[in-house]
Protein backbone atom coordinates (compact mmCIF):
# COMPACT_ATOMS: atom_id res chain seq x y z
CA UNK A 1 0.00 0.00 0.00
CA UNK A 2 1.43 3.31 -1.11
CA UNK A 3 1.54 5.84 1.68
CA UNK A 4 3.70 8.71 2.81
CA UNK A 5 5.90 6.52 5.03
CA UNK A 6 6.59 4.11 2.20
CA UNK A 7 7.47 6.91 -0.24
CA UNK A 8 9.78 8.42 2.34
CA UNK A 9 11.44 5.08 2.96
CA UNK A 10 11.96 4.38 -0.76
CA UNK A 11 13.43 7.82 -1.33
CA UNK A 12 15.79 7.49 1.58
CA UNK A 13 16.90 4.03 0.40
CA UNK A 14 17.69 5.39 -3.06
CA UNK A 15 19.11 8.83 -2.31
CA UNK A 16 20.27 8.53 1.28
CA UNK A 17 20.64 11.82 3.09
CA UNK A 18 20.39 13.85 -0.13
CA UNK A 19 16.61 14.02 0.22
CA UNK A 20 15.83 16.09 3.27
CA UNK A 21 13.24 18.16 5.09
CA UNK A 22 10.41 15.67 5.07
CA UNK A 23 7.21 17.32 6.18
CA UNK A 24 3.53 16.55 5.87
CA UNK A 25 1.58 19.81 5.82
CA UNK A 26 -2.12 18.97 5.38
CA UNK A 27 -1.19 15.30 4.82
CA UNK A 28 0.81 16.00 1.65
CA UNK A 29 4.33 14.60 1.78
CA UNK A 30 6.77 17.41 1.08
CA UNK A 31 10.51 16.98 0.69
CA UNK A 32 13.56 18.61 -0.75
CA UNK A 33 16.59 17.57 -2.77
CA UNK A 34 19.63 19.39 -4.17
CA UNK A 35 18.91 20.95 -7.55
CA UNK A 36 21.67 18.91 -9.19
CA UNK A 37 19.69 15.70 -8.78
CA UNK A 38 16.17 17.02 -9.42
CA UNK A 39 15.81 14.99 -12.62
CA UNK A 40 17.17 11.85 -10.96
CA UNK A 41 14.57 12.17 -8.23
CA UNK A 42 11.75 12.88 -10.71
CA UNK A 43 12.82 9.98 -12.91
CA UNK A 44 12.97 7.65 -9.91
CA UNK A 45 9.50 8.74 -8.78
CA UNK A 46 8.26 8.22 -12.35
CA UNK A 47 9.83 4.80 -13.00
CA UNK A 48 9.86 2.99 -9.69
CA UNK A 49 7.43 0.07 -9.63
CA UNK A 50 5.98 1.00 -6.29
CA UNK A 51 5.84 4.78 -6.75
CA UNK A 52 4.79 5.65 -10.31
CA UNK A 53 4.28 9.37 -9.93
CA UNK A 54 3.49 9.95 -13.57
CA UNK A 55 1.28 12.99 -13.52
CA UNK A 56 2.80 16.43 -13.15
CA UNK A 57 0.02 18.44 -11.56
CA UNK A 58 1.83 21.69 -11.17
CA UNK A 59 5.22 23.35 -11.27
CA UNK A 60 6.00 26.81 -9.98
CA UNK A 61 8.50 28.81 -7.98
CA UNK A 62 8.55 30.76 -4.74
CA UNK A 63 10.94 33.58 -3.93
CA UNK A 64 12.42 33.86 -0.43
CA UNK A 65 14.69 36.93 -0.59
CA UNK A 66 16.03 36.44 2.96
CA UNK A 67 17.05 32.87 2.35
CA UNK A 68 20.64 33.59 1.27
CA UNK A 69 21.95 31.09 -1.28
CA UNK A 70 18.56 29.43 -1.50
CA UNK A 71 16.43 32.31 -2.68
CA UNK A 72 14.31 30.51 -5.24
CA UNK A 73 12.35 27.34 -4.63
CA UNK A 74 11.03 25.38 -7.58
CA UNK A 75 8.04 23.34 -6.45
CA UNK A 76 6.74 20.25 -8.24
CA UNK A 77 3.37 18.76 -7.39
CA UNK A 78 3.21 15.15 -8.50
CA UNK A 79 0.29 12.79 -8.51
CA UNK A 80 0.02 9.01 -8.65
CA UNK A 81 -3.41 8.71 -10.22
CA UNK A 82 -3.86 5.01 -9.51
CA UNK A 83 -3.14 5.12 -5.80
CA UNK A 84 -4.40 8.71 -5.70
CA UNK A 85 -1.49 10.08 -3.71
CA UNK A 86 0.01 13.50 -4.18
CA UNK A 87 3.48 14.65 -3.18
CA UNK A 88 5.29 17.94 -3.26
CA UNK A 89 8.95 18.09 -4.21
CA UNK A 90 11.09 21.19 -3.85
CA UNK A 91 14.50 22.19 -5.08
CA UNK A 92 16.18 25.37 -3.98
CA UNK A 93 18.57 27.43 -6.04
CA UNK A 94 20.50 30.62 -5.49
CA UNK A 95 19.31 33.64 -7.39
CA UNK A 96 22.69 34.49 -8.94
CA UNK A 97 22.83 31.29 -10.99
CA UNK A 98 19.25 30.04 -11.04
CA UNK A 99 19.94 27.00 -13.20
CA UNK A 100 17.65 24.03 -12.72
CA UNK A 101 17.39 21.06 -15.07
CA UNK A 102 14.26 21.03 -17.18
CA UNK A 103 11.69 18.28 -16.72
CA UNK A 104 10.30 18.65 -20.24
CA UNK A 105 11.73 15.34 -21.41
CA UNK A 106 9.79 13.55 -18.69
CA UNK A 107 6.57 15.55 -18.80
CA UNK A 108 5.32 17.39 -21.87
CA UNK A 109 3.20 19.44 -19.47
CA UNK A 110 6.34 20.94 -17.96
CA UNK A 111 7.02 22.94 -21.12
CA UNK A 112 4.72 25.91 -20.52
CA UNK A 113 4.84 25.60 -16.75
CA UNK A 114 8.60 26.09 -16.90
CA UNK A 115 8.22 28.96 -19.33
CA UNK A 116 5.79 30.59 -16.91
CA UNK A 117 8.18 30.03 -14.02
CA UNK A 118 11.04 31.51 -16.03
CA UNK A 119 8.85 34.42 -17.05
CA UNK A 120 7.92 35.38 -13.50
CA UNK A 121 10.91 34.26 -11.42
CA UNK A 122 13.80 33.97 -13.85
CA UNK A 123 14.54 30.33 -13.14
CA UNK A 124 16.75 29.17 -15.98
CA UNK A 125 15.59 25.70 -16.95
CA UNK A 126 18.61 24.00 -18.50
CA UNK A 127 17.63 21.81 -21.43
CA UNK A 128 14.28 23.43 -22.09
CA UNK A 129 13.52 23.42 -25.84
CA UNK A 130 12.08 26.92 -26.02
CA UNK A 131 12.68 28.89 -22.85
CA UNK A 132 11.19 32.31 -23.49
CA UNK A 133 8.59 34.51 -21.89
CA UNK A 134 5.02 33.32 -22.15
CA UNK A 135 2.57 35.64 -20.39
CA UNK A 136 4.57 38.87 -20.18
CA UNK A 137 5.84 40.89 -23.12
CA UNK A 138 9.10 39.75 -24.66
CA UNK A 139 10.71 43.14 -24.03
CA UNK A 140 10.37 42.87 -20.27
CA UNK A 141 13.81 42.83 -18.62
CA UNK A 142 12.92 41.82 -15.07
CA UNK A 143 11.10 38.99 -13.33
CA UNK A 144 7.97 40.49 -11.81
CA UNK A 145 6.99 37.88 -9.24
CA UNK A 146 10.21 38.31 -7.32
CA UNK A 147 9.69 39.99 -3.99
CA UNK A 148 11.86 43.00 -4.78
CA UNK A 149 9.08 44.28 -7.01
CA UNK A 150 6.39 45.48 -4.66
CA UNK A 151 2.89 45.80 -5.96
CA UNK A 152 2.15 49.22 -4.55
CA UNK A 153 3.67 52.49 -5.65
CA UNK A 154 6.65 53.00 -3.33
CA UNK A 155 6.16 56.75 -3.13
CA UNK A 156 2.82 56.35 -1.43
CA UNK A 157 2.97 56.65 2.31
CA UNK A 158 -0.63 55.75 3.11
CA UNK A 159 -0.11 52.13 2.20
CA UNK A 160 2.97 50.78 3.93
CA UNK A 161 3.76 47.23 4.90
CA UNK A 162 2.45 47.78 8.42
CA UNK A 163 -1.05 47.63 7.02
CA UNK A 164 -0.39 44.15 5.73
CA UNK A 165 1.20 42.66 8.81
CA UNK A 166 4.75 42.65 7.47
CA UNK A 167 6.02 46.04 8.50
CA UNK A 168 9.04 46.90 10.57
CA UNK A 169 7.02 47.50 13.72
CA UNK A 170 5.06 44.35 13.24
Amino acid sequence: MLNNDYIKQRLTEKFGDQVTNFEEPFEMLTFEAPKEINLKVLQFLFDDEGLQFRFLTDLQAVHYPDNTGRELAVVYHLHNLQANIRIRFKVYTNIATPDVFSATALYAAANWMERETYDFFGVNFVGHPNLKRILNVDEMDYFPMRKEFPLEDQTRIDKDDDMFGRGKSY
Binding site: P25, L56, D58, L81, N84, R86, W112, L135, D138, G165
Partner: protein
Protein backbone atom coordinates in the same frame (compact mmCIF):
# COMPACT_ATOMS: atom_id res chain seq x y z
CA UNK B 1 16.20 38.39 -26.42
CA UNK B 2 13.30 40.05 -28.16
CA UNK B 3 14.17 39.04 -31.67
CA UNK B 4 11.36 39.48 -34.13
CA UNK B 5 10.47 36.05 -35.44
CA UNK B 6 10.76 35.87 -39.21
CA UNK B 7 8.76 32.96 -40.42
CA UNK B 8 10.41 31.42 -43.41
CA UNK B 9 7.94 29.72 -45.64
CA UNK B 10 8.91 26.25 -46.76
CA UNK B 11 9.25 25.52 -50.47
CA UNK B 12 6.74 22.93 -51.63
CA UNK B 13 7.57 20.17 -54.15
CA UNK B 14 6.98 20.51 -57.92
CA UNK B 15 3.40 20.02 -58.95
CA UNK B 16 1.91 21.57 -55.84
CA UNK B 17 -0.65 24.28 -56.39
CA UNK B 18 1.25 26.74 -54.25
CA UNK B 19 4.99 27.35 -54.51
CA UNK B 20 5.58 27.74 -50.78
CA UNK B 21 3.69 27.19 -47.55
CA UNK B 22 1.47 29.96 -46.21
CA UNK B 23 1.68 31.53 -42.79
CA UNK B 24 -1.69 32.25 -41.25
CA UNK B 25 -2.38 34.21 -38.12
CA UNK B 26 -5.33 32.69 -36.31
CA UNK B 27 -5.99 35.27 -33.67
CA UNK B 28 -5.49 37.21 -31.44
CA UNK B 29 -8.92 38.56 -32.35
CA UNK B 30 -10.14 35.88 -34.70
CA UNK B 31 -13.77 34.93 -34.00
CA UNK B 32 -12.89 31.24 -33.77
CA UNK B 33 -10.53 31.68 -30.86
CA UNK B 34 -13.38 32.86 -28.60
CA UNK B 35 -10.88 34.79 -26.57
CA UNK B 36 -7.66 36.66 -27.03
CA UNK B 37 -4.82 34.39 -28.03
CA UNK B 38 -2.90 33.79 -31.19
CA UNK B 39 -1.97 30.76 -33.24
CA UNK B 40 0.53 31.14 -36.01
CA UNK B 41 -0.14 28.32 -38.43
CA UNK B 42 2.13 27.17 -41.22
CA UNK B 43 -0.09 25.81 -43.96
CA UNK B 44 0.42 23.66 -47.02
CA UNK B 45 -2.80 24.54 -48.78
CA UNK B 46 -5.31 23.75 -46.07
CA UNK B 47 -3.14 21.32 -44.16
CA UNK B 48 -1.39 22.42 -40.98
CA UNK B 49 2.33 21.67 -40.94
CA UNK B 50 3.16 23.36 -37.68
CA UNK B 51 1.76 25.90 -35.32
CA UNK B 52 2.90 28.17 -32.57
CA UNK B 53 0.70 29.61 -29.88
CA UNK B 54 1.10 32.97 -28.22
CA UNK B 55 -0.81 33.57 -25.02
CA UNK B 56 -0.75 36.27 -22.40
CA UNK B 57 -2.76 39.00 -24.10
CA UNK B 58 -5.01 39.41 -21.07
CA UNK B 59 -2.52 38.59 -18.34
CA UNK B 60 -3.67 40.50 -15.25
CA UNK B 61 -1.03 39.46 -12.68
CA UNK B 62 -3.50 37.77 -10.35
CA UNK B 63 -0.80 35.94 -8.45
CA UNK B 64 1.06 39.17 -7.75
CA UNK B 65 -2.13 41.01 -6.80
CA UNK B 66 -3.07 38.22 -4.41
CA UNK B 67 0.11 38.82 -2.43
CA UNK B 68 -1.27 42.13 -1.20
CA UNK B 69 -4.88 41.21 -0.63
CA UNK B 70 -6.65 39.75 2.37
CA UNK B 71 -8.23 36.39 1.63
CA UNK B 72 -11.77 37.57 1.00
CA UNK B 73 -10.64 40.04 -1.66
CA UNK B 74 -9.00 37.29 -3.69
CA UNK B 75 -12.39 35.77 -4.49
CA UNK B 76 -12.95 38.46 -7.10
CA UNK B 77 -9.70 37.48 -8.80
CA UNK B 78 -10.81 33.86 -9.08
CA UNK B 79 -14.03 34.99 -10.82
CA UNK B 80 -11.98 36.11 -13.73
CA UNK B 81 -10.08 32.87 -14.31
CA UNK B 82 -12.63 30.65 -16.05
CA UNK B 83 -15.42 33.17 -16.36
CA UNK B 84 -17.82 30.60 -17.81
CA UNK B 85 -17.97 28.87 -14.44
CA UNK B 86 -16.97 31.48 -11.87
CA UNK B 87 -18.87 29.91 -8.94
CA UNK B 88 -16.65 26.83 -9.10
CA UNK B 89 -13.58 29.04 -8.83
CA UNK B 90 -15.12 31.01 -5.97
CA UNK B 91 -16.06 27.88 -4.05
CA UNK B 92 -12.65 26.35 -4.71
CA UNK B 93 -11.00 29.41 -3.22
CA UNK B 94 -13.29 29.42 -0.17
CA UNK B 95 -12.58 25.73 0.37
CA UNK B 96 -8.84 26.44 0.21
CA UNK B 97 -9.15 29.20 2.81
CA UNK B 98 -11.37 27.07 5.03
CA UNK B 99 -8.89 24.22 4.94
CA UNK B 100 -6.05 26.54 5.91
CA UNK B 101 -8.06 28.24 8.64
CA UNK B 102 -9.57 25.02 9.93
CA UNK B 103 -13.15 26.16 9.39
CA UNK B 104 -15.65 23.31 9.21
CA UNK B 105 -18.71 24.05 7.10
CA UNK B 106 -22.17 22.65 7.93
CA UNK B 107 -23.62 20.03 5.59
CA UNK B 108 -26.29 22.39 4.29
CA UNK B 109 -23.62 24.82 3.12
CA UNK B 110 -21.81 21.99 1.35
CA UNK B 111 -24.96 20.96 -0.47
CA UNK B 112 -25.84 24.51 -1.46
CA UNK B 113 -22.32 24.86 -2.80
CA UNK B 114 -22.68 21.63 -4.74
CA UNK B 115 -25.84 23.03 -6.33
CA UNK B 116 -24.13 26.19 -7.57
CA UNK B 117 -20.98 24.36 -8.64
CA UNK B 118 -22.96 21.90 -10.72
CA UNK B 119 -25.05 24.71 -12.21
CA UNK B 120 -21.77 26.36 -13.15
CA UNK B 121 -20.52 23.14 -14.70
CA UNK B 122 -23.67 22.90 -16.79
CA UNK B 123 -23.35 26.48 -17.99
CA UNK B 124 -19.68 25.92 -18.80
CA UNK B 125 -20.24 22.70 -20.75
CA UNK B 126 -23.32 24.17 -22.38
CA UNK B 127 -21.45 27.06 -23.86
CA UNK B 128 -18.54 24.87 -24.93
CA UNK B 129 -20.70 22.30 -26.68
CA UNK B 130 -23.01 24.79 -28.35
CA UNK B 131 -19.98 26.74 -29.56
CA UNK B 132 -18.62 23.55 -31.10
CA UNK B 133 -21.93 23.58 -32.97
CA UNK B 134 -21.48 27.18 -34.06
CA UNK B 135 -17.96 26.50 -35.30
CA UNK B 136 -19.19 23.61 -37.39
CA UNK B 137 -21.92 25.76 -38.87
CA UNK B 138 -24.91 24.83 -36.71
CA UNK B 139 -26.07 28.01 -35.05
CA UNK B 140 -29.52 26.83 -33.95
CA UNK B 141 -28.41 24.75 -31.00
CA UNK B 142 -26.45 27.63 -29.56
CA UNK B 143 -29.37 30.06 -29.60
CA UNK B 144 -31.68 27.41 -28.26
CA UNK B 145 -29.66 26.49 -25.18
CA UNK B 146 -28.54 30.03 -24.39
CA UNK B 147 -31.99 30.66 -22.93
CA UNK B 148 -31.21 28.08 -20.30
CA UNK B 149 -27.82 29.46 -19.51
CA UNK B 150 -29.74 32.67 -18.92
CA UNK B 151 -31.89 30.78 -16.43
CA UNK B 152 -28.75 29.62 -14.62
CA UNK B 153 -27.49 33.20 -14.52
CA UNK B 154 -30.82 34.30 -13.06
CA UNK B 155 -30.37 31.76 -10.30
CA UNK B 156 -26.90 33.21 -9.62
CA UNK B 157 -28.48 36.64 -9.51
CA UNK B 158 -30.95 35.50 -6.89
CA UNK B 159 -28.14 33.99 -4.83
CA UNK B 160 -25.46 36.66 -5.00
CA UNK B 161 -26.66 39.55 -7.13
CA UNK B 162 -24.42 39.18 -10.13
CA UNK B 163 -24.30 37.03 -13.20
CA UNK B 164 -20.92 36.47 -14.77
CA UNK B 165 -18.23 37.40 -12.29
CA UNK B 166 -20.19 36.22 -9.33
CA UNK B 167 -17.99 36.74 -6.25
CA UNK B 168 -20.32 34.21 -4.70
CA UNK B 169 -20.09 32.94 -1.15
CA UNK B 170 -17.81 33.86 1.69
CA UNK B 171 -15.24 32.01 3.75
CA UNK B 172 -17.44 29.71 5.84
CA UNK B 173 -20.53 29.69 3.65
CA UNK B 174 -22.72 32.15 1.81
CA UNK B 175 -23.29 35.83 2.46
CA UNK B 176 -27.05 35.19 2.68
CA UNK B 177 -29.37 32.24 2.44
CA UNK B 178 -30.85 31.20 -0.88
CA UNK B 179 -34.09 33.10 -1.34
CA UNK B 180 -37.37 31.21 -1.97
CA UNK B 181 -37.23 32.75 -5.45
CA UNK B 182 -33.84 31.12 -6.03
CA UNK B 183 -35.28 27.71 -5.16
CA UNK B 184 -38.28 28.44 -7.36
CA UNK B 185 -36.02 29.20 -10.30
CA UNK B 186 -33.94 26.14 -9.54
CA UNK B 187 -37.08 23.98 -9.63
CA UNK B 188 -38.04 25.54 -12.93
CA UNK B 189 -34.57 24.80 -14.30
CA UNK B 190 -34.65 21.20 -13.10
CA UNK B 191 -38.07 20.71 -14.65
CA UNK B 192 -37.35 22.28 -18.03
CA UNK B 193 -33.70 21.67 -18.69
CA UNK B 194 -33.75 17.88 -19.33
CA UNK B 195 -36.10 18.35 -22.27
CA UNK B 196 -33.86 21.02 -23.73
CA UNK B 197 -30.71 18.99 -23.32
CA UNK B 198 -32.43 16.05 -24.96
CA UNK B 199 -33.46 18.24 -27.87
CA UNK B 200 -29.92 19.59 -28.10
CA UNK B 201 -28.55 16.05 -28.23
CA UNK B 202 -31.09 15.15 -30.90
CA UNK B 203 -29.86 18.03 -33.01
CA UNK B 204 -26.21 17.10 -32.69
CA UNK B 205 -25.15 13.75 -31.30
CA UNK B 206 -26.20 11.53 -34.20
CA UNK B 207 -26.23 14.23 -36.85
CA UNK B 208 -24.25 12.77 -39.75
CA UNK B 209 -22.74 16.08 -40.89
CA UNK B 210 -21.74 16.98 -37.36
CA UNK B 211 -20.25 13.54 -36.73
CA UNK B 212 -18.23 13.64 -39.95
CA UNK B 213 -16.75 16.93 -38.88
CA UNK B 214 -15.89 15.91 -35.34
CA UNK B 215 -14.95 12.24 -35.41
CA UNK B 216 -11.20 11.88 -35.73
CA UNK B 217 -10.55 15.60 -35.38
CA UNK B 218 -7.81 16.43 -32.89
CA UNK B 219 -7.52 13.05 -31.17
CA UNK B 220 -5.15 12.42 -28.30
CA UNK B 221 -4.24 9.13 -26.65
CA UNK B 222 -4.69 8.63 -22.92
CA UNK B 223 -0.93 8.36 -22.48
CA UNK B 224 -0.17 11.63 -24.25
CA UNK B 225 -3.05 13.37 -22.53
CA UNK B 226 -1.67 12.41 -19.14
CA UNK B 227 1.81 13.45 -20.13
CA UNK B 228 0.44 16.81 -21.24
CA UNK B 229 -1.28 17.26 -17.90
CA UNK B 230 -4.80 17.06 -19.29
CA UNK B 231 -7.56 16.96 -16.70
CA UNK B 232 -11.32 17.25 -16.70
CA UNK B 233 -13.57 16.39 -19.65
CA UNK B 234 -10.67 16.51 -22.11
CA UNK B 235 -8.78 13.81 -20.21
CA UNK B 236 -11.91 11.75 -19.64
CA UNK B 237 -12.64 11.87 -23.37
CA UNK B 238 -9.29 10.13 -23.86
CA UNK B 239 -10.44 7.32 -21.57
CA UNK B 240 -9.01 8.17 -18.16
CA UNK B 241 -11.65 8.26 -15.43
CA UNK B 242 -9.95 10.89 -13.31
CA UNK B 243 -12.37 13.26 -11.63
CA UNK B 244 -11.36 15.33 -8.60
CA UNK B 245 -14.91 15.08 -7.24
CA UNK B 246 -14.44 11.33 -6.95
CA UNK B 247 -10.71 11.09 -6.20
CA UNK B 248 -10.46 13.77 -3.53
CA UNK B 249 -14.03 14.68 -2.61
CA UNK B 250 -14.56 18.19 -1.33
CA UNK B 251 -17.72 19.96 -0.23
CA UNK B 252 -19.34 16.57 0.62
CA UNK B 253 -19.31 15.23 -2.95
CA UNK B 254 -18.93 11.79 -1.39
CA UNK B 255 -22.62 11.96 -0.40
CA UNK B 256 -23.77 11.97 -4.02
CA UNK B 257 -24.42 9.26 -6.53
CA UNK B 258 -23.11 10.03 -10.01
CA UNK B 259 -21.17 8.46 -12.86
CA UNK B 260 -17.97 9.62 -14.49
CA UNK B 261 -18.45 9.41 -18.25
CA UNK B 262 -15.38 8.51 -20.30
CA UNK B 263 -14.60 8.43 -24.01
CA UNK B 264 -12.14 6.32 -25.95
CA UNK B 265 -10.33 8.23 -28.68
CA UNK B 266 -10.01 11.67 -27.14
CA UNK B 267 -11.14 13.37 -30.33
CA UNK B 268 -13.51 16.32 -30.62
CA UNK B 269 -16.54 14.06 -30.84
CA UNK B 270 -15.67 12.24 -27.63
CA UNK B 271 -15.06 15.51 -25.87
CA UNK B 272 -18.47 16.66 -27.03
CA UNK B 273 -20.18 13.48 -25.82
CA UNK B 274 -18.38 13.48 -22.49
CA UNK B 275 -19.45 17.05 -21.82
CA UNK B 276 -23.04 16.24 -22.72
CA UNK B 277 -23.04 13.24 -20.43
CA UNK B 278 -21.52 15.32 -17.66
CA UNK B 279 -24.40 17.75 -17.91
CA UNK B 280 -26.80 14.86 -17.27
CA UNK B 281 -24.71 13.80 -14.29
CA UNK B 282 -24.64 17.36 -13.00
CA UNK B 283 -28.42 17.42 -13.19
CA UNK B 284 -28.52 14.21 -11.18
CA UNK B 285 -26.29 15.76 -8.56
CA UNK B 286 -28.36 18.95 -8.43
CA UNK B 287 -31.54 16.96 -7.92
CA UNK B 288 -29.99 14.96 -5.09
CA UNK B 289 -28.54 18.09 -3.51
CA UNK B 290 -31.89 19.84 -3.74
CA UNK B 291 -33.60 16.92 -2.00
CA UNK B 292 -30.97 16.93 0.72
CA UNK B 293 -31.25 20.68 1.24
CA UNK B 294 -35.03 20.40 1.50
CA UNK B 295 -34.80 17.58 4.01
CA UNK B 296 -33.08 19.62 6.75
CA UNK B 297 -35.31 20.18 9.77
CA UNK B 298 -35.44 22.73 12.56
CA UNK B 299 -32.48 25.05 13.06
CA UNK B 300 -30.44 23.15 10.49
CA UNK B 301 -32.94 24.29 7.86
CA UNK B 302 -31.70 27.87 7.94
CA UNK B 303 -27.97 27.38 8.30
CA UNK B 304 -26.07 29.02 5.48
CA UNK B 305 -22.65 29.68 6.96
CA UNK B 306 -20.19 28.23 9.46
CA UNK B 307 -19.48 29.75 12.81
CA UNK B 308 -16.22 31.54 12.00
CA UNK B 309 -16.36 34.99 13.63
CA UNK B 310 -12.82 35.89 12.62
CA UNK B 311 -13.51 35.51 8.92
CA UNK B 312 -17.26 35.63 8.41
CA UNK B 313 -18.84 39.10 8.65
CA UNK B 314 -21.29 39.51 11.55
CA UNK B 315 -24.94 40.38 10.76
CA UNK B 316 -25.23 44.02 9.77
CA UNK B 317 -27.78 44.73 12.52
CA UNK B 318 -25.29 43.62 15.16
CA UNK B 319 -22.57 45.83 13.68
CA UNK B 320 -24.64 48.91 14.49
CA UNK B 321 -25.60 47.83 17.99
CA UNK B 322 -22.89 45.56 19.39
CA UNK B 323 -19.28 46.47 20.13
CA UNK B 324 -17.90 42.98 19.47
CA UNK B 325 -19.56 42.72 16.08
CA UNK B 326 -18.38 46.18 15.09
CA UNK B 327 -14.79 45.28 15.93
CA UNK B 328 -14.89 42.09 13.90
CA UNK B 329 -16.60 43.81 11.01
CA UNK B 330 -13.88 46.43 10.94
CA UNK B 331 -11.05 43.94 11.27
CA UNK B 332 -12.36 41.69 8.52
CA UNK B 333 -13.13 44.48 6.05
CA UNK B 334 -9.77 46.15 6.61
CA UNK B 335 -8.02 42.80 6.22
CA UNK B 336 -6.42 42.99 9.64
CA UNK B 337 -6.85 39.35 10.53
CA UNK B 338 -3.62 37.35 10.53
CA UNK B 339 -3.92 34.06 8.73
CA UNK B 340 -2.17 31.02 10.20
CA UNK B 341 1.12 29.82 8.76
CA UNK B 342 0.77 26.98 6.34
CA UNK B 343 1.25 25.52 2.92
CA UNK B 344 -1.44 23.67 1.07
CA UNK B 345 -2.63 22.61 -2.33
CA UNK B 346 -6.33 22.13 -2.86
CA UNK B 347 -7.80 20.94 -6.16
CA UNK B 348 -11.39 21.19 -7.29
CA UNK B 349 -13.00 19.90 -10.46
CA UNK B 350 -13.43 23.06 -12.50
CA UNK B 351 -15.30 23.28 -15.78
CA UNK B 352 -12.12 22.47 -17.67
CA UNK B 353 -10.41 20.16 -15.23
CA UNK B 354 -8.40 20.24 -12.09
CA UNK B 355 -8.35 23.78 -10.80
CA UNK B 356 -5.76 23.91 -8.05
CA UNK B 357 -4.92 26.52 -5.45
CA UNK B 358 -1.40 26.41 -4.05
CA UNK B 359 -1.31 28.73 -1.07
CA UNK B 360 1.68 29.55 1.11
CA UNK B 361 1.05 31.68 4.16
CA UNK B 362 3.85 33.07 6.31
CA UNK B 363 1.50 34.22 9.04
CA UNK B 364 0.90 37.67 7.56
CA UNK B 365 -2.46 39.07 6.56
CA UNK B 366 -2.13 38.19 2.91
CA UNK B 367 -0.83 35.04 1.20
CA UNK B 368 2.95 34.90 0.85
CA UNK B 369 2.49 33.14 -2.47
CA UNK B 370 -0.61 31.98 -4.27
CA UNK B 371 -0.51 29.96 -7.43
CA UNK B 372 -3.48 28.92 -9.51
CA UNK B 373 -3.21 25.65 -11.39
CA UNK B 374 -5.20 26.63 -14.45
CA UNK B 375 -6.17 23.50 -16.41
CA UNK B 376 -6.62 25.45 -19.64
CA UNK B 377 -3.10 26.85 -19.62
CA UNK B 378 -1.64 23.40 -19.14
CA UNK B 379 -3.54 21.46 -21.79
CA UNK B 380 -3.41 24.13 -24.47
CA UNK B 381 0.24 23.17 -25.00
CA UNK B 382 -0.98 20.05 -26.75
CA UNK B 383 -2.68 22.08 -29.49
CA UNK B 384 0.39 21.95 -31.71
CA UNK B 385 0.72 18.20 -31.44
CA UNK B 386 -2.94 17.34 -31.94
CA UNK B 387 -3.44 19.59 -34.95
CA UNK B 388 -0.27 18.67 -36.81
CA UNK B 389 -1.28 17.35 -40.22
CA UNK B 390 -4.93 18.28 -39.71
CA UNK B 391 -7.00 20.61 -41.87
CA UNK B 392 -7.43 24.25 -40.95
CA UNK B 393 -11.13 23.75 -40.24
CA UNK B 394 -10.26 20.94 -37.82
CA UNK B 395 -8.02 23.30 -35.89
CA UNK B 396 -11.00 25.61 -35.41
CA UNK B 397 -13.15 22.91 -33.84
CA UNK B 398 -10.23 21.61 -31.79
CA UNK B 399 -9.93 25.11 -30.33
CA UNK B 400 -13.59 25.22 -29.39
CA UNK B 401 -13.87 21.63 -28.19
CA UNK B 402 -10.87 22.02 -25.88
CA UNK B 403 -12.87 24.88 -24.31
CA UNK B 404 -10.00 27.34 -24.15
CA UNK B 405 -10.83 30.27 -21.94
CA UNK B 406 -8.35 33.11 -22.33
CA UNK B 407 -9.03 34.38 -18.82
CA UNK B 408 -8.04 31.08 -17.32
CA UNK B 409 -5.01 30.70 -19.53
CA UNK B 410 -3.50 34.08 -18.80
CA UNK B 411 -4.40 34.46 -15.13
Amino acid sequence: MSDVIHHKNIRLPEGSIEKTTTTLNLGPTHPATHGVFQNILELDGERILSSESTVGYIHRAFEKLAERRPLYQITTLTDRLNYCSSPINNMGWHLTCEKLLGVKTPKRVDYLRVIVMELARISDHLICNSIVGVDTGAFTGFLYVMQYRELIYEIYEEICGSRLTTNMGRIGGFERDFTPKAFEKLEKFMAEYPKVLKEFEKLFSRNRIFMERLIGAGPISAERALNYGFTGPNLRAAGVDYDVRVHTPYSSYEDFEFDVPVGTTGDCYDRFLVRNQEMWQSLRIIEQAYQKVQSFKGTEHDVYHADAPEYYLPPKGDVYTKMEALIWHFKIVMGEVDIPKGELYLPVEGGNGELGFYLISDGGRTPYRLHFRRPCFIYYQAFEEITKGAMLSDAIIVLSSLNLIAGEMDA
